[in-house]
């Protein structure tokens, strides 16, 4: 299987959101919220963008305090992390204004402890340096942030990551698989994966392995009928390939 980044609909919507935030006026909000269930590629897609533009990428910890958050940011931006929180903030502000480096915070739920004190620091930095901040969180983070009006008013764009579409899965199969797959099998990959791209990659790898074992250059549903290709962790059952009307 080829190891490549697949541009999905979630990627397209994220990039459009970023473009909208970056084209904002100076006085407008500069924060963006990315949320969704695990496995939909939030960190992967935002990480791809961060590597492209040179954004600072931080992963919040359960014990983040405002000072801890600033120290982590200072280390990532190669700013002297010593001194009081006030001194540190001033040094960071100068560096961020100067470099205009976007900031990404993954697991952003952990910035919401203690009345969102850590996130308030980040918000202050974003406001004063006029720099883009991307927050990544799980499904419920938007509701939690909504309780803090000062913060929610600074969020210019919200992008919800949703399950991959059949077109996304088709693109992944075409771009990554070393064997040709019939449209019916691609539809099965979409069903079995539940739209989780990580699962799509695992299933493609399994299909390639089976194709190699059976000497097949192209694979259809009929070739794999009844074969377990995914696992349902909730019901603890295997998910098998189902026969399709259009199979050969």
């Amino acid at each position: 299987m080829r190891k490549q980044f697949v541009k999905t609909e979630n990627y397209s919507r994220f990039t459009a959101g970023i473009a909208a935030v970056e084209q904002r006026g100076a006085a407008e909000a500069g924060m963006m919220l990315v949320h969704g269930a695990p496995g939909f590629g939030k960190s992967h897609i935002v990480g791809h963008w961060a590597a492209e533009v040179g954004a600072v990428f931080l992963r919040a910890n359960v014990d983040w305090t405002p000072k801890y958050c600033l120290v982590e940011l200072a280390k990532a931006m190669r700013v002297d992390p010593s001194g009081s929180a006030q001194q540190l903030f001033s040094r960071l502000l100068e560096r961020v204004v100067e470099t205009q480096t976007p900031i990404v915070i993954d697991e952003a739920e952990f910035t919401l402890h203690q009345n969102a004190a850590a996130l308030e620091k980040v918000r202050d930095l974003s406001d004063r340096a006029e720099v883009t901040v991307v927050l990544i969180g799980m499904e419920r983070i938007q509701q939690t942030i909504a309780r803090h009006r000062q913060l929610s008013s600074r969020i210019a764009q919200v992008v919800e990551f949703v399950p991959s579409t059949p077109a996304d899965v088709g693109q992944a199969c075409k771009q990554l698989a070393d064997v040709a797959m019939s449209p019916a099998l691609v539809a099965e990959v979409h069903r079995l994966s539940g739209g989780r791209m990580r699962e799509v990659l695992n299933i493609i790898a399994s299909i390639e392995r089976l194709a190699r074992l059976n000497g097949l250059d192209s694979v259809d549903v009929a070739d794999l009928e009844g074969v377990p290709l995914a696992h349902d962790w909730q019901s603890r059952t295997q998910k098998t390939v189902r026969a399709a009307a259009g199979g050969r």
Partner: protein, 181 residues
């Protein structure tokens, strides 16, 4: 290219799209769509980044006027965009992750347009390990791949250390340090 270009601008009027989405909506091949986008980009009618395209204000004016888009010189007005190298992006991605293997970097950074990306990055990772930037992790990946961690004290700055394959030297542009490997 006139009708193609206007149709393409129309396809972007409602928001940014990927090349494949534009191609599908116009019933054109991706290659034809890519070429058309390239021409529109040179004329400043479309802005692109990482495979996502959106219409510019100039493009919207052109669309509103329904003017024919002709070929010919653009008067030096077109913007050019050159992204960071694969190794530069890999350096940034390494700093983001606690542990990684070659496949992690390839799936995060490469879209298939890079020439021999796996070999390029594989050499680079081995060189960074030899130069002391990367720590080889004891646990291997699911398929037995080697994994590394970028030593936090060796994140010396934003510029990726440069590998000269012929002289077997790694030069750190952040510190000026040159290390033979």
């Amino acid at each position: 290219m006139a009708w193609n270009s206007l149709a393409l601008l129309n396809a972007l009027a409602n928001g940014p799209k990927l090349t494949r989405q534009i191609a599908a909506s116009l019933g054109k091949s991706r290659e034809a769509t890519r070429l058309c986008l390239e021409r529109l980009r040179r004329k400043g009618l479309v802005a692109s980044g990482e495979g996502v395209h959106q219409i510019t204000d100039k493009g919207r004016r052109m669309l509103a006027d329904g003017r024919e888009i002709t070929s010919g010189p653009g008067g030096g007005t077109a913007a050019s965009r050159r992204g960071p190298t694969l190794r530069q992006r890999a350096w940034r991605a390494m700093a983001m992750r606690d542990g990684f293997d070659l496949d992690d970097l390839l799936t995060m950074l490469c879209d298939g347009s890079e020439k021999d990306a796996a070999r390029n990055l594989s050499r680079y990772l081995e060189a960074l390990e030899a130069a002391g930037y990367l720590l080889a992790l004891p646990r291997r990946g699911e398929d037995g791949e080697k994994r590394w961690r970028l030593r936090r004290e060796r994140i010396t700055g934003p510029a990726a250390p440069a590998l000269n394959t012929r002289t077997r030297r790694v030069t750190d542009g952040n510190t000026g340090e040159v290390k033979a490997i």
